[in-house]
């Protein structure tokens, strides 16, 4: 059905983590979800403590129509990436393959690492784009440039401030961003606070939906608000 691209040109802002939380939330809510990555480090597997030998991931699927498919949770599947080098033929066939996936799954989430050079294809094929970001000058300037460079700006549905420490500068940046987005249709979620509980869950290989701790409620609320944006047609 829908293809959701989680994108930021800066590394380390929490793309893979956010992709995992969004996809596992959708899966828990009863959707059949596939996560595709352009990250050959396959961080999502690391977050869940899965160490499965992979033979051929996205490359095989694109070139041969079959490949690794790792079950992460009920209703939640993952296609890893092995290589960083993509042929012209791969790029041409990538969109076709992603469209095929979207016929089989309710949602396909793409964890897009910017350095791969297949960004354009992901962007073109995506129905919606979600942008995780930090609330610092450098990252926000990057986001602004990224928005300017995205061909179809209407695809950008949400910006998610991540690892928010609540400093004065971050608050000013958040307010500036909020004012900037007032007249747009882009949803600015509440910031995801930097909390020890998240580190704790990561070390236990759990998603935020698998915790009953009170401290996780506000994070679930925030991710939930982004899920609602995804679910809005």
């Amino acid at each position: 059905m829908s293809k959701i691209l989680i994108k930021n040109n800066k590394g380390g802002v929490g793309k893979s983590w956010l992709t995992l939380q969004l996809s596992s939330g959708l899966a828990k809510a009863g959707c059949k979800v596939l996560v595709v990555t352009s990250d050959s480090q396959n961080d999502i597997l690391g977050f869940l403590g899965i160490d499965t030998p992979t033979k051929g991931g996205l490359e095989n699927w694109v070139n041969k129509g079959e490949g690794d498919l790792i079950r992460l949770r009920d209703n939640l599947f993952y296609i890893p990436l092995i290589t960083n080098i993509f042929s012209k033929q791969f790029k041409e066939k990538l969109k076709e393959r992603l469209n095929k996936f979207s016929e089989e799954y309710d949602y396909v989430l793409i964890d897009a690492v910017p350095v791969m050079g297949i960004d354009k294809e992901f962007e073109e094929v995506a129905d919606k784009i979600i942008i995780p970001t930090f609330m610092d000058n450098v990252t926000c300037n990057g986001v602004e440039k990224m928005i300017d460079n995205i061909a179809d700006i209407s695809k950008i549905k949400a910006i998610v401030p991540n690892r928010f420490l609540g400093s004065k500068d971050e608050k000013i940046m958040l307010e500036t961003l909020r004012n900037m987005l007032l007249t747009s249709n882009i949803f600015l979620s509440n910031p995801i606070k930097h909390k020890a509980i998240i580190t704790g869950l990561n070390s236990k290989y759990k998603t935020i939906w698998e915790s009953r701790a009170k401290g996780i409620n506000d994070i679930q609320d925030t991710i939930g608000s982004v899920l609602e944006v995804i679910l809005d047609e």
Partner: protein, 225 residues
């Protein structure tokens, strides 16, 4: 399941239901291209989803007006009217909102259907001459083409009721009131009864005059005017 996931699950179910609601229009029969099919299906989704939003909005509006009407009941009779007029709402529209709110409150499981009813149907369904059983039947069976049928029925009942000269219902009620009335209330009732007697005497006089006029209608005038 957390509250958030519960909310998301409901939304997922609603989306899946939406997919099922998409029309079974036979695109092949009209040789519609796959691109146009996609476009039409996207617009169908927009139509259905906004229909749901429209229904929710109508519900919210009606209930908000109903709540204010209840709150302002404590004050003067005019306060509610003044309030909605200042909002630019007309008496007719507010009356329709309140009637719809009554239906929403009485049939909470039929919110979507009630929202689809036209103003005319709302007036008929909440008409005092429509029995509660009939109202229940039409709502629970989602009958939407009630207008003509019921409007005629109501007109007939109204016409019959216009043939009734005196309504004795109040007199029957007064009988019950007397049984429990205090001395002061009895005085009030007696005062009312005197007024009624006076009215009856006046009516009697009117009838006599009319009869006299009728009897003299064929008399030949003695003097030309």
């Amino acid at each position: 399941m957390s509250n958030v996931l519960d909310r998301i699950s409901k939304k997922v179910s609603a989306n899946k239901e939406l997919e099922l609601q998409l029309s079974e229009f036979n695109f092949k029969e009209f040789n519609v291209t796959s691109e146009d099919i996609e476009d039409i299906k996207t617009n169908e989704k927009i139509l259905i989803q906004n229909g749901v939003k429209y229904s929710d909005s109508e519900y919210e509006i009606c209930m908000a007006i109903y709540k204010v009407s209840q709150t302002l009941k404590k004050y003067t009779d005019k306060s509610f009217m003044d309030w909605y007029k200042r909002l630019g709402l007309s008496k007719d529209k507010v009356s329709e909102f309140l009637k719809r709110a009554d239906l929403y409150r009485n049939y909470p499981n039929y919110k979507a259907f009630i929202s689809t009813l036209s103003g005319r149907n709302i007036r008929i369904l909440t008409h005092k001459l429509l029995s509660p059983e009939e109202q229940k039947y039409y709502i629970e069976n989602k009958v939407s083409d009630i207008s003509e049928l019921k409007e005629n029925q109501i007109k007939n009942i109204k016409a019959k009721s216009e043939n009734i000269i005196f309504n004795y219902n109040n007199l029957e009620k007064t009988k019950k009131k007397i049984k429990i009335a205090s001395p002061d209330q009895l005085k009030e009732i007696q005062k009312e009864m005197k007024n009624i007697k006076r009215y009856l005497e006046e009516l009697e006089k009117e009838i006599n005059l009319k009869n006299e006029k009728e009897a003299n209608k064929t008399n030949i005038p003695l003097f030309k005017e």
